[in-house]
């Protein structure tokens, strides 16, 4: 069965997918070339939530957890390219159902104990175990025995085996081409059982891992201090000696401190009021980091509600929106979108032009659809700035083609609840809740938000869009786990998303970019401050000499 095994390096190369061109930024130079040392200060307004990798799931703790722990797989800094990390090598069976990993030898947790295969099994079972109450269990659904374990019929995942001292074998119940990505997300972080048990339910405050940094001090409500792990298994990584996260810092004050040199990274970015001043300043180039994220902001058009069930109406609305104007509302910190996938994502179609802004044509299509005078509908939005302003811009654009949209600006949880209730919300502007991919694979942008499985009570497919034929093609694409077919798979996904646009269940609005402010002494390319898989990449950033 394991006859045509491939070496991990070959697979990693095959997985270094198409979007290198879209990235356009150079990879960080090899570790040795960068300055070592330095203690930096990072500020945030809000507290850091749990650092337990099985539970933490927000954009602040995501990048910290990445650096506290290591996983079998990881990404080349600044890119969506998978590389083995804690795994020294791995193989995939031809049917895509068996993944075999060889662990690196001699890797130690920061409590001094060596990382063994049983830790991998324990950590992933812990992430899946309903008792852990983690949000990431669903990612591991392809592992054999998942249903039995989550239903309480088994005490562990039958699909994870540890045959010898340095081997972990995953048996899947169905092929899952995204499985290597799953092993690279935070929920797959390897934790030592004894430390979890010693923390007695508070592992999130007392994390122990085998990553690049160690938590030295946590003063609740004030600061967290992280020091480099001197025994990290890649020599020369990380580059900085420590980072201190100061919390409770207003973004505006953080920027003043940054300009005075007291702060190195203002984690909350630059408030609009300060953006113009800073971007015109002499040091703007060195201090403002502007990068793309794996995110798309869109308006859902509910295919179960009249007249949005009519594809011509949905296409007409796609032509009615002036996306350039909406981009200006967010100070130009976004790029107009024409398809569901963000440009950084493998499978993004650079040739596709989408529905151009054309009021006359939109009116014509509405007429063809039987609505020459337009219609009335409701547009939901969250109620925090700038989302209601964006909803108003959309409302004005719709009014120009005769569609009267009433805006319902509600708290985020209410909008999510309305979206997941059949027949409730005709249109939703996704801002403030927009899908940010968990990992850089196109399937992550289909299943929950455009696939049939998401069009259920409490689901995230707020268009209630379900195209059986595309669904079949999506499932087929996700079964292509043979690394040799990865290019073919991305191509298949690309076509799925472009065909989705023919049905127009969404109006893609923009891909928001993220802005981080940093001090002049911080070095490195923008893509390690806004890393597509981690936000700030503490392993890669460095202080200039």
């Amino acid at each position: 069965m394991l006859k045509t095994l491939m070496r991990s390096t070959a697979l990693a190369a095959a997985l270094a997918l198409a979007p290198a061109a879209a990235l356009s930024v150079a990879l960080p130079t090899p570790a040795a070339a960068q300055a070592q040392g330095g203690d930096i200060v990072v500020t945030y307004k809000d507290d850091i939530a749990t650092l337990d990798p099985a539970i933490g799931y927000d954009w602040q703790n995501w990048s910290i957890i990445k650096s506290l722990f290591s996983r079998l797989m990881d990404y080349t800094p600044g890119t969506p390219d998978l590389v083995p990390s804690l795994a020294e090598s791995f193989t995939v069976s031809p049917d895509g159902l068996t993944y075999t990993f060889k662990l690196r030898k001699g890797v130690k947790f920061t409590n001094g104990r060596e990382v063994v295969p049983a830790d991998v099994k324990y950590s992933i079972e812990r992430a899946v175990d309903p008792k852990t109450q983690g949000p990431g269990a669903g990612f591991f659904g392809a592992i054999a025995g998942f249903d039995d374990f989550t239903a309480g019929k088994a005490t562990g995942l039958a699909g994870i085996e540890t045959p010898d001292a340095d081997t972990v074998v995953f048996k899947l119940s169905r092929p899952d081409a995204t499985f290597l990505h799953v092993l690279a997300i935070n929920f797959s972080s390897i934790v030592p059982k004894e430390a979890v048990e010693a923390a007695a339910g508070d592992f999130g405050k007392k994390p122990v891992g085998s990553g690049t940094f160690v938590l030295k001090e946590w003063v609740i409500g004030q600061k967290l201090v992280f020091a480099r792990n001197p025994d990290y298994f890649v020599k020369g990584v990380p580059h900085i000696d420590s980072f201190t996260i100061e919390i409770g810092q207003e973004p505006l004050v953080a920027l003043l401190r940054l300009q005075k040199g007291e702060v190195d990274i203002a984690g909350d970015g630059i408030p609009p009021a300060k953006f113009l001043e800073m971007s015109k300043g002499p040091d703007a180039k060195e201090m403002i980091v502007d990068g793309q994220q794996l995110n798309t902001g869109y308006v859902t058009l509910n295919t179960h509600i009249k007249p949005l069930d009519n594809v011509k109406v949905r296409q007409a609305l796609n032509m009615a929106i002036n996306k350039d104007r909406i981009v200006r509302i967010v100070n130009g910190r976004a790029t107009p979108a024409n398809q569901p996938l963000p440009p950084l994502m493998p499978g993004y179609d650079t040739a596709y032009k989408g529905y151009a802004y054309d009021v006359a044509k939109a009116k014509e299509l509405l007429k063809e659809a039987g609505y020459p005078d337009g219609f009335s509908t409701v547009l939901y939005s969250t109620n925090t700035d700038p989302q209601p302003r964006i909803a108003q811009a959309i409302q004005q654009d719709l009014a120009a083609v005769g569609v009267k949209a009433e805006i319902k600006a509600l708290a985020q949880s209410n909008v999510i609840a309305a979206g997941g209730t059949e027949g409730e919300a005709p249109m939703i502007w996704s801002g403030g809740m927009a899908w940010i991919a968990d990992f850089p694979d196109p399937s992550n942008f289909y299943g929950p938000i455009l696939g049939c499985a998401g069009a259920v009570q409490g689901g995230w497919n707020w268009s209630w869009y379900c195209n059986e034929e595309l669904q079949k093609r999506a499932v087929a694409a996700d079964s292509m786990s043979d690394p040799a077919k990865s290019a073919e798979r991305v191509e298949a996904w690309k076509k799925v998303f472009i065909d989705v646009m023919a049905d127009a269940p969404w109006i893609p609005i923009f891909n928001e970019r993220r802005v981080v402010a940093k001090s002049k002494r911080m070095g490195g390319e923008p893509n390690i401050y806004i890393d597509p898989t981690r936000v700030i990449n503490y392993d890669a950033i460095f202080v200039k000499n």
Partner: protein, 306 residues
């Protein structure tokens, strides 16, 4: 005296029970299921069920309320949705900062307010009086964030005399405490002024003056103590207010107090923290009023007699 204390204590306990009931209802007035909020968007139904069971959300409502009260009495304020950790330690860790700022703020506002109020009363209708009254009017009507940002910009960002943000040294305390103090002083100045004017018109003050006592002695020993009663009541109110209401100042100066925690929790709809802070603030307000009620008879024998 003891009977008064007992009566007040019972009232305070009833008020706190009422607040606990209201915060409990708050949790259930939410449209979204707390278990779903806790679990996140990728959670499996098994996870949601497990959370619901652990939180006791599958129990009848009266049982849940009883459990909630029992937990409260044990100091358990529940677990934060967002930070995924117990709420009580989060609030407890921030208490010292809030108490420090409260004490410093009150000390400054009382010091400034008393001084200005007494001077204004003595120079009634003069230029100084008008100036003080105008300033106090400006003080009470200026938004906190404006003063906070101005002080921060002038004394920290530009002059560099004080740190811009943070906590730990006395230098960190100066700007936030002065922001509270300057703004609060206006109230005290006005109240002290009118109380002093009233007292200065009393017979015993005239007698004291007639006896030939020095002016400072008349003012400080005879008049001022009798004008202090409303100030004590105001301090009681401020204790309660500053425990819950220094949100803006704490946010601007990065002061790690309860207000900052509340502000953050409100933005994140982190209900257990909001509930916890509400309870603690209610407790502080009740306590502050209790202290003021009990301090009044100590200062004024007439109340003691009644």
């Amino acid at each position: 005296m003891l009977a008064l204390f007992a009566r007040r204590a019972v009232q305070a306990a009833l008020i706190l029970l009422g607040v606990a009931a209201i915060t409990f209802v708050l949790l259930y007035a939410l449209p979204a299921d707390p278990a779903v909020l806790l679990a996140g968007r990728n959670a499996t139904p098994a996870t949601v069920a497990s959370i619901r069971h652990q939180l006791g959300l599958d129990l009848p409502l009266p049982v849940q309320f009883w459990n909630y009260l029992v937990n409260l009495l044990h100091g358990d304020l529940g677990r934060s949705f967002n930070q995924k950790t117990a709420v009580a330690p989060l609030i407890l860790a921030r208490l010292p900062a809030t108490l420090t700022l409260m004490a410093a703020g009150i000390a400054i506002e009382v010091a400034i307010g008393l001084t200005l109020g007494v001077i204004a009363a003595l120079r009634r209708d003069g230029v100084v009086d008008r100036l003080v009254m105008t300033l106090s009017f400006v003080g009470v009507s200026t938004p906190q964030f404006l003063v906070a940002l101005l002080l921060l910009y002038i004394f920290a960002a530009t002059l560099g005399w004080f740190p811009m943000s943070g906590y730990g040294t006395p230098a960190h305390l100066v700007l936030p405490a002065f922001t509270l103090g300057i703004l609060g002083a206006g109230w005290y100045a006005r109240v002290v002024r009118s109380a002093m004017i009233e007292v200065l018109g009393q017979d015993y003050v005239r007698t004291a003056n007639a006896k030939g006592l020095s002016a400072p002695r008349v003012v400080l020993r005879h008049a001022l103590p009798n004008a202090l009663l409303p100030v004590i009541a105001m301090i009681g109110i401020d204790i309660g207010q500053f425990m819950s209401g220094t949100v803006v100042v704490e946010a601007v100066y990065g002061w790690p107090g309860i207000g900052q925690l509340a502000w953050q929790a409100i933005q994140q709809v982190d209900i257990p923290i909001i509930m916890g802070v509400t309870l603690v603030s209610a407790f502080a307000i009740v306590l502050g009023n209790l202290v003021a009620d009990l301090a009044a008879p100590l200062i004024d024998p007439r109340i003691r007699a009644a």
